[in-house]
């Protein structure tokens, strides 16, 4: 034990030789996964011994696990030995040199979303200095955050600079043995974000991965850990609305949230990874484990997500309501078009007294896509006075798409009140007709109706995100009606 502590100290005091931006061209590991891969990743990241052990434990466990087959999604079997688990960021030579080399269709999408010119290049992966403009922005934000005492850095940095915090909370919400993809992530996670909000601090701004420059290439196995101490508040934004190109097909991220007494965490996601082309070729597999623990009294965790991308989505942001009077919320819009498949929903586990949860899920399917809501509300015997309200609405746009709901309700306390309702319907022809008749094009009419359908969720998004999300919805559903 003492040697481990020595090692820790050694690591924490040494200077981080890669700097804050991982822009150096590192070697890429050949495809394959075994214990040596895990050791290699850990060594490259100069991780302490305990973290290596932690990764190895997860890996050994993963080897014994079976890939889940219960989700309502279909894809060819993944060969986990054919993936490279340590890929360096693309060097500038491989990337498009200017916007002229980028797929015009992608550029047209940026145009519609109203993305500023300088950001388009960054999003399309163009190797221009524009990307690094945000470095200065990031630095300014960093100073402001540091003044407030907020820690916001990549998780690899945090392992070096705040090992005691990381060690205390990492894997405490999603244990390395949790599920197939979470175990895989624990074994080989590349990088991610770490946020720590100290006691009584209200984070002065909305945190976004966008501001953390070295988050640009965290790769396929992202790990995020957010800890909110007593009485603190943070709003965290993940992803961005523009379609992101990525060379990795499999994404297995893990997000852990911890809220102590009276703390509040608001986590908003806009996910728009490449969904594959119109015929269903390519596209990202997005297999994510997200979970928040309301450990303290009166704590609150709120998940808001807008899912429009990825060929396959498998994602259930959950809340474990341990503290008395704690609150869990889940607001989701999931859109699938063409050949996309989504199996997404939430879990609300009520353990403490007077815990409350709200679930609002809006699924929209178009083309030949399949959209499933899968959720669990579990009221444990001690959860006196627990309350849940769930609403899952689906909208179908096209006669070849599917909408499915699989809500599980398990109640073991009689004082609990649990309500679930779901509806499935078609986009209203009479509504489209009415809008047409007022001179609005069918495409705009559809976008307007769909936005109305999703309003309850968009309302929960931070303002800028909400505006972008509305535009995104219109773009995602393009060509699905008429």
């Amino acid at each position: 034990m003492s040697s481990a502590i020595d090692q820790l100290e050694g690591l924490t005091t040494q200077e981080y030789k890669y700097g804050f931006v991982t822009d150096i061209d590192q070697e890429t590991l050949p495809p394959g996964l075994n214990e040596d891969t895990v050791r290699f990743i850990s060594a490259r990241k100069e991780e302490p011994q305990w973290l290596l052990e932690w990764r190895l434990k997860a890996f050994r466990n993963w080897q014994r696990m079976k890939e889940p087959d219960w989700p309502n999604v279909h894809y060819p079997p993944i060969d986990y030995q054919a993936i490279s688990y340590y890929a360096a960021p693309k060097s500038a030579d491989d990337r498009p040199k200017s916007l002229d080399e980028v797929d015009p269709e992608l550029l047209a999408t940026y145009e519609k979303l109203g993305i500023p010119l300088e950001e388009r290049a960054a999003l399309a992966g163009v190797a221009v200095d524009a990307v690094f403009d945000s470095v200065s922005v990031a630095t300014t934000f960093r100073e402001k955050l540091a003044d407030a005492g907020v820690i916001f850095m990549s998780i690899s940095e945090a392992v070096r600079e705040h090992p005691e915090l990381v060690r205390k909370y990492l894997g405490s919400v999603v244990p390395p043995t949790d599920n197939f993809f979470a175990s895989l992530n624990s074994a080989v996670y590349s990088d991610g974000s770490f946020v720590f909000i100290p006691k009584g601090v209200r984070c002065p701004m909305e945190l976004s991965t966008y501001f953390r420059i070295n988050a640009m290439n965290t790769g396929q196995f992202e790990r995020t850990l957010i800890v909110a101490e007593e009485g603190s508040y943070v709003s965290y934004l993940e992803g961005c609305t523009a379609p992101m190109r990525d060379q990795n097909q499999l994404h297995a991220a893990v997000v852990e949230l911890v809220a102590l007494d009276n703390a509040r965490i608001k986590y908003s996601t806009v996910q728009n990874w490449y969904p594959g082309d119109k015929d269903g070729n390519g596209g990202i597999y997005n297999f994510v484990t997200k979970r928040g623990a309301c450990r303290g009294r009166n704590s609150k965790i709120s998940w808001t997500q807008v899912e429009t991308g990825s060929a396959i989505t498998w994602k259930y942001p959950s809340c474990i309501l341990i503290g008395d009077n704690s609150v869990g919320e889940f607001y989701s819009v999931a859109v699938t078009n063409n050949h996309q498949q989504a199996d997404t929903g939430t879990k609300m586990i009520h353990i403490g007294r007077n815990t409350t949860s709200t679930i609002v899920s809006k699924g929209i399917s178009a083309g030949v896509s399949n959209n499933s809501y899968r959720g669990l509300v579990k009221i444990m015997p001690k959860a006196e006075g627990a309350r849940n309200f769930s609403q899952c609405d689906s909208m179908l746009m096209g006669d070849r798409c599917g909408a499915h709901t699989f809500p599980y309700l398990e109640v073991r306390n009689k004082s609990a009140q649990v309500e679930h309702e779901a509806t499935t319907s078609k986009i209203g022809e009479d509504q489209i007709f009415y809008l047409n008749q007022r001179g609005i094009e069918t495409e705009d009419a559809v976008s307007m109706i769909v936005n109305g359908f999703c309003k309850e969720v968009f309302r929960e998004l931070p303002m800028e995100f909400a505006v972008e999300a509305q535009k995104l919805l219109g773009v995602s559903l393009e060509g699905s009606v008429g």
Binding site: G398, R400, G402, F406, V411, N413
Partner: protein
């Protein structure tokens, strides 16, 4: 050997006995039995590892002794016949009695009679509506039923009196099998009751074929001893413009599991699957429904209500499938549960799987307790706490019972319900 069956010897032994006893059966039926036996042995008795049985573990039954073992019949209270006063019950033997079928256009036959009278109809329907291939318990019944009640309703017949099938003790009573074929534009009401004392396992299968424009109102009630296991399958197949109504009462048994489904196979069909489960002490009741909308312009309704007291567990899983091109479907499902005790548990999973776009499907599920303000109001009017509780419980469940179309059944169950949760202390 599948996980569900530790030793298949008892099943195989009894199966060969049965084949000896039923040597005169036509070859198609024999082949279906053999095929079902094969399927059962490969699937085994379902355990909690099977997603469909996640909350209802039947591994205690795996050996088959409760189903196939020789047991002394107990003396169970036989429910009243829910038919006209002058109708007499006729014993079919092997644990089955039938009342109320002496009416024009309705024939109730034993398996042997039906095989002689309507061989082609039987070959068409028996074992083809409730398909044993993917359902272990359905396969088990198909392999083993020694006797069957076959109800044939002639085209155009509007049967006035309900037909009441009573399953009591005896071997036939442990593998009840019913086939109902309603001819074109006919209408019939059928009541099945299951009773029995002692510790046994009953595994029932009912198949209903509603041909064009036919109307079948079915009601199934089980009040077996609280040491018994009950598993049941009810499967309907509907032609265009037909209607099947099903009501399932589950009051008895230690563990009861019902799989109720219908396939709407022609345009303009309608079905309603309703039920009430009211359990206490340490009973476990599970309803799985599946409505398969295979054709356009069909409507379905479901209302399941549950009252759970003591240490009980209530499970509900309602599936609605809307197949591609089953446009203009209107499906409504609702499951409401009342918890009377802190130790009771509810697991509900309403499930929609929709592959057509021009549809309206809704489902709702609620779980809650008695309204404290309503109880307070009643008390303020001078009604005792115990009475207030009974009244409110009754009121919660009674509206489901209003969907039962056979009046004497409705009245009988309303009175049972009122007495069921009566407590003096409040």
């Amino acid at each position: 050997m599948p996980a569900g069956i530790a030793s298949a010897s008892l099943y195989l032994e009894r199966f060969s006995d049965l084949l000896d006893r039923t040597a005169g059966e036509p070859s198609w039926l024999r082949q279906r039995r053999e095929r079902a036996m094969e399927r059962f042995l490969s699937m085994g008795v379902p355990t909690a590892r099977n997603e469909e049985y996640k909350y209802t573990d039947l591994s205690a039954l795996a050996g088959g002794e409760r189903l196939l073992g020789l047991q002394q019949p107990g003396l169970a209270a036989i429910p009243p016949a829910y038919v006209g006063d002058d109708a007499k019950a006729v014993w079919f033997g092997e644990g089955l009695a039938v009342a109320g079928f002496a009416q024009a256009g309705v024939r109730v036959m034993s398996l042997r009679e039906a095989l002689l009278a309507e061989p082609s109809l039987l070959e068409e329907h028996l074992g083809t509506i409730a398909v044993p291939d993917q359902h272990a318990l359905c396969a088990l019944n198909t392999a083993f039923f020694p006797e069957a009640a076959v109800v044939m309703v002639e085209p155009g017949t509007l049967a006035k009196e309900p037909v009441h099938l009573m399953f009591g003790d005896g071997m036939g009573g442990r593998h009840p099998r019913v086939l109902i074929v309603a001819g074109r534009s006919s209408s019939v009401r059928i009541v099945e009751t299951y009773s029995g004392a002692g510790s046994f396992w009953r595994n029932a299968v009912t198949e209903i074929r509603a041909t064009a424009n036919a109307r079948v109102e079915h009601c199934r009630a089980q009040f077996e001893s609280t040491n018994a296991y009950h598993t049941g399958v009810l499967q309907g197949l509907q032609d265009r413009d037909s209607y099947i109504g099903s009501f399932s009462f589950s009051f008895g048994a230690k563990v009861a599991r019902n799989d109720i489904g219908t396939r709407l196979d022609g345009t303009g069909c309608e079905c309603s699957l309703d039920g009430l489960y009211a359990v206490r002490d340490s009973q476990h009741v599970d309803h799985h429904t599946a409505i398969d909308h295979a054709a356009a312009h069909c409507n379905s309704h479901q209302l399941y209500k549950g009252v759970l007291d003591g240490n009980t567990r209530g499970v509900f899983n309602g599936k609605i499938f809307v197949r591609r091109d089953a446009q203009k479907t209107d499906a409504v499902q609702s499951n409401k549960n009342l918890l009377l005790s802190d130790k009771a548990e509810v697991n509900t999973k309403p499930q929609l799987e929709i592959d057509a776009n021009d549809v309206r499907c809704t489902h709702g599920a609620t779980i809650g307790q008695l309204d404290a303000t309503a109880a307070f109001y009643l008390r303020s009017r001078g009604i005792s706490a115990a009475d207030a509780r009974n009244m409110l419980t009754y009121a919660f469940a009674a509206d489901a019972l209003d969907r039962v179309r056979v009046k004497p059944v409705r009245h009988h169950f309303k009175s049972l319900l009122l007495a069921r949760f009566a407590r003096e202390d409040g």
